[in-house]
């Protein structure tokens, strides 16, 4: 079972929720898809690290073969190619490595070279297999890294927690594509509710069964909770705005491994999520 944890903005508690749900399970895989700023490994401190390079294909032209027909330039929807002064210019940072230009070239003048854009680390932390994607500084798209991250995982039947990047853009869509269930983490603010609305729309658009974890809950109004009631979104659980939890987090400790109260809270949350996800699978099959 694959469970994606997402939120419309950073800092709402995606990592807190996904790390603790993975840690409280008997056995789980944790995948950090927040490749621009992965931080789950800071909590898990995995050992026996196995490293893999992520590369993409970058086109280049052999000038002596190119006849300047510009089929490639006109084909590229990302405008990564220009043909100026009898020379093809490739803009690596604009290129999405689709390979179309090389396929299309009637003179077979376009070749591809590998370019390293990220590293994937796989390690172990107690009951959890920790897989982390680390995008190189200056790289613009983490999508190829996420594709490979989700392939690294061996067995489909294992409980997998996918810690998504913030927001609702391409990189998040890629992260939730194979998920069986989405947990949306939300803050009790107007801004939090606005961002929750965005990821709720995304999960709905992708036909992903989903529910909300209300994080940083205080007494009084919670605009995110109100949104859930209005839109009839399932509330999976609540995490209090608590100094003890904050302190554990600030020391990069995993709450469920340190504190009984949070062990119970996340264990019960995990059971709820699994039940919800299984229920949805039955209903939809």
């Amino acid at each position: 079972m694959k469970i994606a944890v997402l939120s419309g903005k950073g800092g709402t508690g995606k990592t807190l929720v996904s790390v603790n749900l993975a840690a409280v399970a008997d056995k789980a895989v944790y995948i950090d898809c927040d490749v621009e700023e992965p931080n789950g490994y800071l909590f898990f401190k995995p050992t026996s690290i196995d490293t893999k390079k992520v590369t993409v294909q970058m086109p280049y032209a052999k000038a002596e073969l190119c006849n300047g027909c510009r089929k490639c330039v006109n084909f590229c929807k990302f405008n990564a190619l220009a043909y100026i002064a009898n020379q093809l210019i490739v803009f690596d940072k604009v290129c999405h490595s689709c390979g179309g230009c090389a396929l299309l070239c009637p003179k077979k003048a376009i070749f591809e070279k590998e370019k390293e854009i990220a590293e994937i680390q796989k390690g172990v932390s107690g009951n959890v297999t920790v897989i982390t994607g680390i995008l190189k500084v200056g790289e613009l798209s983490g999508v190829p890294v996420i594709k490979m991250l989700l392939d690294v995982q061996d067995a489909d039947n294992e409980l997998t927690l996918i810690d998504c990047p913030p927001g609702s853009a391409c990189i998040v869509m890629e992260s939730i594509q194979d998920a069986d269930y989405c947990i949306l983490v939300a803050e009790p603010t107007l801004f939090g509710a606005h961002n929750l609305k965005m990821v709720h729309e995304l999960a709905t658009l992708f036909h992903k069964p989903h529910g909300v974890v209300l994080n940083k809950c205080l007494d009084g109004q919670n605009p995110s909770e109100e949104l859930c009631r209005q839109e009839d979104i399932k509330i999976l659980g609540e995490i209090p705005y608590d100094e003890v939890l904050g302190l554990l987090n600030s020391k990069a400790l995993i709450a469920v491994r340190e504190n009984d109260k949070y062990n119970k809270l996340f264990d019960s949350l995990l059971q709820t999520v699994i039940k919800e996800a299984q229920h949805e699978t039955v209903v939809n099959s």
């Binding site: 330039v73 990302f78 190619l81 100026i84 002064a85 210019i89």
Partner: protein
């Protein structure tokens, strides 16, 4: 000499568009024949690489001078390879900018920004 200017409107009295790659139109002005022509910028709605595509069009038109308030690094690379000079526009209409260029009152654009790459410009 052919001159190009990114424009918000198809009108010589209109102001220069603040964006190069995503300007709705380009004005091409021939300083010899004094003829002007407006072209829809096909790159304006591109998801990315608008500067590259727009610069390719400018180069293909045989432009020698581009007048713009700013230019991204990708577009600059295309334009410099095509030996197009980029002049910094002054506040005012396209007509005023053309006159200023011909009177040698415009300066070459020295600051090239790293591009917005899908992010909203200021």
């Amino acid at each position: 000499m052919r001159i190009a200017i990114p424009m918000n409107d198809k009108n010589l009295d209109a102001e220069v568009c603040p964006s190069f790659g995503r300007a709705p139109y380009f004005l091409f002005y021939n300083s010899v024949t004094k003829e002007s022509e407006f072209l829809d910028n096909a790159a304006a709605a591109s998801q990315g690489g608008a500067g590259v595509r727009a610069a390719q069009v400018i180069a293909d038109y045989g432009v020698k001078a581009l007048i713009a308030p700013r230019c991204g690094e990708n577009a600059e690379k295309v334009l410099s390879n095509a030996e197009v000079l980029i002049y910094q526009s002054i506040p005012g209409s396209a007509q005023e900018n053309i006159e200023a260029l011909l009177a040698e009152r415009l300066h070459l654009l020295t600051e090239i920004h790293p591009g917005f790459h899908g992010k909203q410009g200021v």
